[in-house]
Symmetry: C2
């Protein structure tokens, strides 16, 4: 790719979906500009024009063309910057499996864990239990491997990366316990390896700031989820 | 690929998700076996073992390896049988757009249209209106093209194919009107071209049988959606 290409992320500091895109570009060594969106205030005209359907972050703008949806942006990044650090596996079956578990992670872990954090009593317990059950599947997928991408961080590591630094915050904010290192030893090791990865560790949002932010979100959303 | 490869679909005759996989294999000229699942009776041991997470069809079994989730199966088919009829576009940006609108179709059209069919009064009207609004986006995407894949049927045509033969059945069963050829002329032409395509027209389920089946489903699901 030429040196003068424009690569810009419209993001929000606490969004696990936005972090995926930042990590993927870091792995590719692709320089990008970043614009923080005021998601709960006034969204920028650029966000509204580049993502008119969902009006959400992340948006990746590459030479004036917008791509949205974090998992689809990962595919686009891998299809576009092919020179370095392949993100998806090469084998068609491995690719299918990585995509399957990434979608599973969003549907059975990320969404339910967020809702459990903001729920109370019975709903919280049921939600937390269902997330723990889903973690069992991932423990099986990871067995014998350091990363889901085997030797290094790949598509599925990036998709599930939020588990490694955000789940613990959600557990604290939601006064719930989901992750158990004795029950999920492979996942526990993976979480450590992931947050210690040189391209990840300096990109994570401050823990204290996340706690304050998600406590605030939960107050606002509690009525919706209970 | 070798001649002795095993390609099998676990399916259900009225599932638009299953049809996608059948069409894609037909486009590739890949011979496959088909096993009908009794989704509302007893699911086969093969289904439960090949899709333990969701226990749903379609499952594509290729040389004993199962792939699930219809849109991911399309990617797998395109990654595997590369010799003929590329399903996804080549250009990274076109690929991202095709994936985006396919997901949009499932989230903003297929799910909502099905629920509107089974809902009553206010909910039906609101649901049908939201589907019509979403069709406006697709009309814009299609403008000036015969197929979403431009010259021939591609990934997005396959993903949205259900619109061309099933939406009208759902409109009849649900006593609602969503599609309007005057408002969406490009989509109306596309629907005709799609169901007339030589590889599609002989694979569609009988209309009368669909009406009876979806009427029955609606009776069962009405209490859930109202």
């Amino acid at each position: 790719m030429g040196e003068r290409e424009e690569v810009k992320i419209l993001g929000f500091w606490a969004s696990p979906f936005v972090h995926r895109v930042q990590w993927a570009l870091n792995l590719k060594g692709t320089h990008f500009d970043y614009a923080e969106e005021d998601l709960w205030g006034e969204k920028s005209a650029l966000l509204l024009s580049t993502n008119p359907v969902h009006k959400q972050v992340p948006v990746l703008i590459h030479n004036a063309k917008p791509v949205v949806d974090s998992l689809l942006i990962l595919e686009y990044i891998d299809d576009t910057w092919t020179h370095r650090h392949q993100i998806l596996p090469t084998d068609p079956y491995d690719r299918a499996m990585a995509r399957f578990w990434a979608k599973f992670g969003d549907e059975k872990l990320l969404g339910p864990a967020f809702r459990a954090m903001c729920s109370s009593s019975e709903k919280k317990v049921m939600g937390a239990n269902s997330v723990a059950e889903s973690l069992e599947f991932l423990e099986g997928v990871l067995k014998g491997k350091k990363f889901f991408g085997v030797e290094n961080i790949g598509y599925l590591d990036i998709a599930l990366g939020w588990l490694a630094y955000m789940l613990e915050v959600w557990e604290e904010v939601g006064s719930m316990k989901i992750m158990d290192a004795n029950k999920f030893p492979c996942l526990a090791n993976w979480m450590k390896s992931f947050v210690d990865h040189p391209l990840i560790k300096d990109s994570l949002p401050p823990r204290d700031k996340m706690v304050v932010y998600f406590e605030e979100r939960c107050k606002i959303l509690a009525s919706l989820f209970n």
